[in-house]
Homo-oligomer: 228 residues x 2
């Protein structure tokens, strides 16, 4: 699932170690790929894979359509490249769940970081949600492999907290699902939340209230005994 899978470029720079560290003269490529990926992320997040059109992505990225296909041979490869970038963002913050951490701190910080992510980078979250709702056909290996292993591992950490009497008994995996749901809803369903609140966008006050509420639900929900 590394970059190598996803990009199949027409030609790579001569494989020697001569030129400047790691780039050299591919500045054009780097810049254009970034432009296209950013535009693709936005369009895929709004319309999903089948609903998005390469023409719209190209228009948004301000490149002619054949140029888009020069950098990403097919729509599917472009989609894979976008997903590939997003996986890391998605996993971010899970490292708060560590055995030696104090559960109250760890869970609170996890909620804060995830909500921050929903505020600053809502589009990756929406694209991920679209992919999952559509059946997760393109990310099945990731879900059954890396993510599953990570959830099993973090579940062990949480079970450790329970056995140490630091938090109440709870199903660790479902606690994680709950954490994801409580935090990502503010990215995925921002349109609903802002409309219901009578705002035209989710401002800082909304996210502050969201953080308070989610933190309260989680910390009291697992009945954290504060350390010492």
């Amino acid at each position: 699932m590394a970059h190598g899978d996803v990009r199949s470029l027409p030609a790579r720079r001569a494989a020697n170690g001569k030129s400047k560290p790691a780039n050299g003269r591919t500045a054009v490529r780097e810049r254009n790929e970034a432009k296209i990926l950013k535009a693709a992320e936005a369009v895929f997040a709004r319309k999903g894979f089948s609903g998005a059109s390469t023409a719209e992505i190209a228009r948004k990225a301000k490149v002619p359509k054949p140029n888009l296909h020069y950098y990403f041979r097919t729509k599917r490869l472009l989609y894979a490249a976008v997903l590939d970038r997003i996986l890391e963002i998605w996993l971010d913050a899970l490292d708060e769940i560590r055995p030696e951490a104090e559960p109250a701190d760890a869970l609170a910080r996890y909620v804060v970081r995830k909500l921050e992510s929903s505020r600053i980078l809502p589009e990756p979250s929406r694209l991920w949600a679209m992919e999952l709702i559509g059946g997760a056909r393109h990310v099945q290996p990731f879900l059954k492999g890396r993510l599953r292993q990570l959830v099993l591992q973090k579940s062990e950490v949480i079970r450790g907290w329970i056995e140490a009497g630091k938090i109440d008994d709870i199903d660790p995996a479902h606690l994680l699902f709950g954490l994801w749901a409580l935090t990502q809803t503010y990215a995925d369903f921002a349109a609903q939340i802002s409309a219901v609140l009578g705002k035209d966008r989710l401002d800082d006050a909304v996210f502050a209230a969201a953080t308070r509420t989610a933190t309260q639900l989680v910390l009291r929900g697992v009945a954290v005994r504060s350390g010492r």
Copy 2:
């Protein structure tokens, strides 16, 4: 947002009160519309509005494409008709939040009913999620109107519980957002959850654990003082 808006049929049965109660000879129409709506729901839920094709819907409903357009003149009207049916399902269970209800019962029953809905009717939830992620262009009036009013009204109920000392202080609207997120995640992101759990579908055991976990988070989260 009533049915009248959504269906613009070539002709309605003669407007008299003669024939059998409320249908008469439109049995064919009723049956075909139902077939098409069901197929449309599934396809729209998987691909979103722009990603779905009328051809695929027609194929799934086992009617020729022009027949689909005979009953629903445009793709957009078909989509509106599908959304229209879903709104009621979506609002269901909110009536548990009543002033005279005991908060513990009301919240627990709400969670149970919503999770039951995620288990039995995941597709409407997924279609709704798709629509919201895509920007909620087709349901903006519903969100800003009926749903907003309902949320304001239920928020008052919850505020009443707080002031009566029955539950801890919490932002009522965000509590509702949390309840939605915690329960609908099992419909919307079923693909992720089942893959992570190593199952090929979300069985009864999963939903039982989900119910326990979500209920615990909510009831302890708001620190319900049991009645009396």
